[in-house]
């Protein structure tokens, strides 16, 4: 990415154009992007295929059990397509995934795809509130840290941010539950909503906060808010750490530039130098950082959901792990991986669109 930015900066607006008219350049980029996206997705599929079919010593045995007769075993083997060569099996697998067939879950006895569609909104809701908290706190802390570079407040913020890299999420979840739920009673306990409100609101979007507002049921809304605030804040702390660290380093780069000195010499007020001149420049790279940490939150929610019994995709994944429910494990891996890849690539694209230097 940095090389693209550099070459864009070097070529400049007056550089001779070699690639033909502008609209084709945009199209070319789009095609390039789609090709990379397709290959990355194929890579993800190859990995889940490898994990599901190649590593287990005998995938058939895990389906039929060790008391099956030879005929039953052979029938299951053919039914699973395992008598085919590996490349053929892979093609079948990819075709299945693209038609939305992720297999059946052994533990819930429903199609994995249906299960995932049901649990995904819960994770999305928590991760979204988490990222909002992370951005609202992380960006100002990072700017403050850069402005007060080397002072005590800077050191404190840096250590606070490094804690985000050092504290196990599941541990913080447990301590948070013990302290704020059991000890102080400030927040709701595990789960998405108090048990007597469970199932009161029809799922429209699957996001409980939104659904309860649509239904106009404020009791459910506040109960859900009570339950989501602690896990989302803990999740947000981890994105805060990354966002604050990156904001600080971007801001330090800008504050050392000559245009900042020029602005100060011209008598521009300090707040304007910081928030308009310097911060204006780092908004674009910050979007990439926020995109990356949003994707990372979807991943981090696995641990948090396990601790808080949050009925999302992470909890689904760990429950499936305990039941040796390989279809569910791989389906959840595939979905989280796909969302991760999409957010990654989209923030990359967004960066290129928004970066003024790449506007030629």
């Amino acid at each position: 990415m940095s090389t693209d930015v550099e070459s864009a900066a070097l070529s400049g607006p007056s550089a001779p154009r070699r690639r033909g008219p502008r609209r084709f350049a945009g199209l070319r980029r789009l095609v390039e992007f789609l090709v990379i996206l397709a290959f990355t997705f194929l890579g993800l599929l190859a990995i889940t295929f490898f994990i599901g079919r190649v590593i287990p010593i005998d995938p058939v045995l895990s389906v039929v059990g060790d008391r099956a007769t030879a005929a039953q075993y052979e029938a299951a083997r053919v039914a699973m397509g395992l008598d085919q060569p590996l490349p053929v099996q892979f093609v079948h697998y990819v075709a299945d995934v693209f038609s939305g067939d992720l297999g059946r879950s052994v533990s819930t006895n429903r199609p994995v795809a249906d299960d995932l569609a049901r649990v995904f909104p819960a994770t999305l809701e928590m991760a979204t509130i988490g990222i909002v908290i992370g951005v609202l706190l992380g960006v100002p802390l990072g700017v403050l840290s850069a402005v007060k570079r080397g002072r005590l407040i800077d050191q404190l913020i840096r250590i606070f941010a490094l804690l985000g890299y050092s504290v196990p999420a599941f541990w913080l979840g447990l301590v948070g539950l013990a302290l704020f739920y059991a000890g102080l009673g400030w927040v709701g306990g595990p789960g998405r909503v108090d048990i007597f409100y469970d199932g009161l609101v029809d799922p429209v979007t699957g996001l409980l906060l939104v659904d309860s507002l649509i239904a106009g049921d404020l009791d459910v809304f506040f109960s859900a808010l009570d339950h989501i605030i602690l896990p989302a804040t803990i999740l947000g702390f981890f994105s805060l750490a990354y966002i604050a660290r990156m904001t600080r380093s971007f801001m330090l780069d800008q504050l050392g530039q000559e245009y900042v000195t020029t602005a100060r010499v011209k008598g521009v007020p300090e707040w304007k130098v910081i928030w308009v001149h310097a911060f204006g420049t780092i908004r674009v790279p910050l979007i990439t950082v926020i995109g990356l940490s949003y994707a990372a939150l979807l991943e981090g929610s696995v641990m948090i959901e396990t601790v808080f019994s949050w009925p999302g995709i992470g909890n689904y994944l760990t429950t499936a792990l305990f039941n040796a429910d390989m279809n569910a494990v791989l389906g959840a891996t595939l979905v989280i991986g796909t969302v991760f890849i999409l957010i990654n690539k989209l923030s990359d694209i967004l960066y290129r669109i928004l970066d003024p230097r790449s506007r030629t």
Partner: protein, 305 residues
């Protein structure tokens, strides 16, 4: 001149080292002294020193056995006899945390030893040869880089089966791509340098040029990166242990200990909390040292603080 005739410090800082060993040691000493001037880096080094000492002398430091059960004394709060209290089987938590240092060092050590060389070699080969080798190797690296690490490790352990060896393998599989990227970028900067051409002209094979001339130059940036990644590796390993997929009982792995304490978190908070502090302190130690090393070894990408 030898260290005996001129004093160790002077020998180490000699401007004209007489041997390669003296030059290398002198450089290490210089880095060490600059790290000591950075308070956080010094703190990080101290924490890791304590970790290594704990791992090395665990049976002598720990007052009790890490696995011996003592049921009459179960779930005792922290006291003079049991600094961190006891768990549900009456085992002294402090002793278990001290012994757990061995497992933590084993995990991070093995993951670093497996993933860093693999990444370095793939990256150096990719950057050195360029062309299709580069495209294919970096394509694979990019695919791994764009996948979520923890989820991938979880899925690998699910297929391999729980256990500390499989956890190490799964983490190593997900940890190498950044080193490959790093080594490739470094290799590209001196692929066409004169010393590489000279080594080729002198009849050195590609393997020799990569192994003896290119890889050594990639090591310092890799060491920084590995140190910074250590905290993440510890957290992933602890997470696998917490989910019951890593080290199995009765091994005193910190993540698994937190998982055992989960049932008692409301009344006997110390069972789950204490191992967590050990994880935090050690991870912070690696972060501090990694930041310090980056400032010392690689000033241009540092935080300039």
């Amino acid at each position: 001149m030898s260290p005996k005739t001129m004093g160790l410090s002077a020998w180490l800082t000699d401007d004209a080292p007489a041997s390669r060993a003296q030059a290398n040691l002198g450089r290490a000493y210089d880095i060490f002294r600059r790290l000591c001037r950075n308070p956080l880096a010094a703190l990080g080094m101290a924490i890791l020193l304590v970790l290594v000492l704990c791992a090395a002398f665990a049976p002598w430091i720990a007052p009790y056995s890490p696995i011996g059960q003592d049921l009459p004394n179960r779930l005792l709060p922290p006291s003079a006899a049991h600094w961190m209290g006891t768990d549900e089987l009456g085992r002294d938590i402090f002793s278990r945390v001290v012994h757990g240092a061995r497992l933590t060092l084993l995990i991070v050590g093995l993951v670093a030893v497996i993933s860093a060389p693999v990444g370095l070699i793939l990256g150096a080969v990719s950057g050195y040869f360029g062309g299709w080798a580069d495209r294919i190797l970096m394509g694979i690296t990019d695919i791994f880089l764009s996948l979520p690490k923890l989820i991938l490790a979880l899925a690998f352990v699910a297929a391999l089966g729980p256990g500390i060896e499989n956890a190490i393998i799964a983490i190593a599989i997900t940890a190498w791509p950044p080193y490959a990227r790093l080594a490739r970028a470094e290799t590209l900067t001196f692929r066409n340098a004169e010393f590489v051409q000279a080594a080729r002209l002198a009849g050195g094979s590609h393997a020799r040029v990569i192994g003896l001339h290119i890889l050594p130059l990639c090591t310092s940036s890799t060491i920084i990166r590995v140190t910074l990644d250590m905290a993440g590796i510890i957290l992933t390993a602890a997470g696998l242990g917490f989910l019951g997929l890593g080290a199995q009982p009765p091994l005193p792995e910190w993540g698994a200990m937190i998982s055992r304490g989960r049932a008692f978190i409301l009344d006997q908070w110390w069972v789950a909390t204490m191992p967590g502090f050990a994880i935090i302190v050690v991870s912070l130690g690696f972060c501090f040292l990694g930041d310090g090393l980056r400032d010392v070894l690689d000033p241009k990408s540092g935080d300039k603080a």
